[in-house]
């Protein structure tokens, strides 16, 4: 991409005029801000970007950007994104999801998107709760978090998105905290630039159903070591981290998926020939 030739964009150019329905103080506001800043830095014109999501508070984000958007059904954003990118390799495809949408109902697509390694960016706003449906435990929720649906907690050990991403072949793996706009912006920039499937987990507090997450501001700390390109090393590191380690943890070198729809087509008439007796 030749950034020089692009007009200079500002974050505001990537923001729509729609007022988010998010609760005041929701971490997703910061994600939106960081994403638009990152897009401005990348300099791709808004009409060449597609922001794809499922259902959830976090998944409302496409309409708040000034890009093309698809607010699909619950859990299927990665499939929409994969089809779009294969059909339109010229677009920048960003899939943005929540921990319920992405890791619960959408878990299978996550596995296979990592494996497929299509050149796109997957950002999950992880608030460790189903916000939109008013506070049920998600796969990343702590085992003892009390709720109406799971009184006393689920008792289940939380899902490790980064480990799974790595184990199933994502080419770029990072974690960020929504409150840190600068780092989040930079992480998104690098995720988009990195070829293949890039995964960024953004810890994004739910002030309404998880007020306890206000502690994340102090709990998160940057990864003390540089990103590696060795999946086994990265795995070792992530499997023993405390979940609040932020930064870019892995930059892989796998070749992105390369089957795609061309810009011009041959006449399909040639396809009939094989049937002639």
């Amino acid at each position: 991409m030749n950034v020089q030739q692009q007009p200079a964009f500002k974050a505001g150019d990537y923001k729509s005029d729609i007022t988010p329905i998010w609760c005041p103080g929701c971490g997703d506001f910061h994600v939106l801000l960081s994403a638009t800043k990152a897009l401005a830095e990348l300099g791709t014109p808004p009409e060449k970007i597609a922001v794809i999501s499922g259902i959830g508070c976090s998944s409302r984000i496409p309409a708040y950007t000034n890009c093309y958007g698809f607010h699909g059904v619950h859990g299927r954003s990665l499939a929409l994104g994969a089809g779009l990118k294969v059909a339109r390799p010229d677009l920048t495809v960003m899939v943005m999801s929540g921990d319920g949408d992405g890791f619960s109902i959408g878990g299978n697509h996550f596995l296979h998107a990592c494996r497929r390694n299509i050149d796109m960016t997957y950002i999950v706003m992880d608030n460790r709760v189903y916000g939109m449906t008013k506070g049920q435990p998600s796969p990343t929720t702590e085992p003892d978090w009390d709720s109406a649906l799971s009184p006393g907690g689920t008792g289940l050990s939380p899902f490790h998105p980064l480990v799974i991403a790595l184990a199933s072949g994502a080419n770029f793996v990072a974690r960020s905290f929504s409150g840190n706009i600068k780092a989040t912006t930079q992480t998104i920039v690098e995720a988009v630039r990195h070829p293949g499937f890039s995964f960024v987990e953004i810890l994004s507090p739910c002030v309404t159903f998880r007020p306890d997450e206000s502690s994340w501001k102090t709990q998160t700390h940057s990864a003390s070591v540089e990103a590696t390109d060795d999946p086994a090393r990265a795995a070792r590191r992530i499997m023993t981290d405390d979940g609040f380690n932020v930064g870019i943890l892995y930059r892989g070198k796998r070749k992105p998926y390369d089957i795609h729809v061309e810009d011009t087509f041959k006449d399909p008439a040639i396809l009939g020939e094989e049937f002639a007796v």
């Binding site: 729609i18 014109p45 808004p46 009409e47 060449k48 597609a50 794809i52 496409p62 309409a63 000034n66 890009c67 093309y68 958007g69 698809f70 607010h71 699909g72 059904v73 859990g75 299927r76 990665l78 499939a79 929409l80 994104g81 994969a82 089809g83 779009l84 990118k85 294969v86 059909a87 339109r88 010229d90 677009l91 299978n108 697509h109 596995l111 296979h112 089957i259 795609h260 729809v261 061309e262 810009d263 011009t264 087509f265 041959k266 006449d267 399909p268 008439a269 040639i270 396809l271 009939g272 049937f275 002639a276 007796v277």
Partner: protein, 598 residues
Amino acid sequence: MAVLEKVRDRETVAQTAEAAGDSIAFAIVGSGGAGALTAGAILLEAAGKAGWYGLMTRSVGPQIRGGEAAALISLANRPVDCPAEEYDFLVAIDWRNVDRFAKEMPLAENALAIGDPAAGEVPAIIVNTGATLAQTELKELAGAIPGGRENMIAAGIAAGLAGLPIEIVMAVIASKLESKGQGAIDASRRCLEVGMQQARAYGKSYQLRAPSTNGNGRWLITGNEAVGLGAVRGGVRFAAAYPITPATEVLEWLSPSLRKIGGALLQAEDELASINMAIGASFGGRASITATSGPGLSLMVEALGLAIASEVPIVVVDVMRGGPSTGIPTKSEQSDLNIAVYGCHGDAPHIVVAPLSVRDCLFSAQWAVYLAEAMQTAAIILSDQSIGQARALIDSPIDNGFIAERKTVKSVSEEGYNRYAFTDDNISPMAVPGLPGGQYTADGLTHSIRGLPSTKGEDHQKQLDKRRDKVEKFDYGEHWAAIEHNVRDKSPPEFNLLTWGSLAGPAREAMRLLSNEGISVKLIAMRLIAPLRKQELLTELGETARTLIVEQTHSGQFHQYLRAKCDLPGEIRHFHRPGPQPIGPKEICDQIRDWKSS
């Protein structure tokens, strides 16, 4: 009346009665690995080269491999609409489990059943048919030829009885065995010769009359391949795939074919992904498709609703099999009509198109792509196993000219862009990503014209109205049904024969048979299932007092669907049965004859 030959090709023209010798049907059976299907495929292709038309279906046992298999072949001097109901001869490489197939290939009165004495006694189920039994030492004869195979002896016998010239059969074999070298080709020729010699010894012949055409431009194609080709002709450039019987061949044909012309197929992890991938690609401006069968369609209905509500065109092929649940994956049924028409939650009008024959798979698929794209909605193609996996010899089909043309915006004015705007034709021009200023968010939530989520009654009502009207008021022309009348001068006809999809074939054949008896029948074979062309249907049903409705479901889904939407005039009878046994022309004739004499 939309008389068929005006708009469609000769396959659909009503034929008058045929003299004997205008068609034959035969079967080659054998246990797994014996090569019965290979022999059948070679003969079918050879018949095509010789100028005949034909159809081959296959029946296989439950074993994944090594199970018995039967090739059921019909050849004729005109396009073959459906599998035969009576077989002229049968060549059994062995008799293993032949009782499993016997029901599917009833032998005609003066039929011949050929078996190898080495394979044991002729089973009672065959003996009891009254067919002439002929013994031929297939195994021994093959053993005597270096590299010889029993299935090629069987092919020789069948070719001899049917009157297929050896040179033409050899041309097919030679092209198939090219890589195996001259030795293999020569061995096959020896086998064929020996087989043909045997055939002469039986003292029977079922020779077809010499073909009326030379077979130039004849095609050999399955319904599943034809769906693929039709879709690509219609403009499809992206497919998403998850395999399932009996639809996999649509996908397996599309994968290399799309690649050849610059398109792409993406293998998905499941059907939830495949349909959403197709929707994503279509959002990007590419006509997109996926193919599945009932269980997969079940998994797709949520996203179908998304395509409909967000107005992103998409085509889903459902090659129906026996249901419910896993049902009978390898056998045909028409019982996905309900889910195809009514399967979405909420009010979600869309298109359902049902191909009428192997050949019509091409027309219907191409048309369905055109309709989905023109109306920005979901189109389901309801094919089924009986045409999807059947291989037919047909005239080379011309492109019907239906090409996807999506109404898009080319540039956006200062006032901005409303994705879901109201227009005269109820179709909202779509911005394709890449267009500056066209940015919008496609949404499955109830939305305003701009595309923003809304809970307002007005937005809900008006968008629902628009989505209903765009499909209801569209001009589908004459293609909603294939209509024929066998005895033109008897108008109104004595009977209407109303059916849909793949049952058009047996129904048409029934109509032909009845015209021999001077019973005047009008066939209305519906291709466009939804939206129902109510006015057109009522006009076609006309003043005829008796209408027979035929379908292959247990509960009568088609009949109930018609009832739901319109008041069917006159007296109605309803002949329906679930799979796996196909519904044949003679059964349909019996229904009408009974009614006439009652």
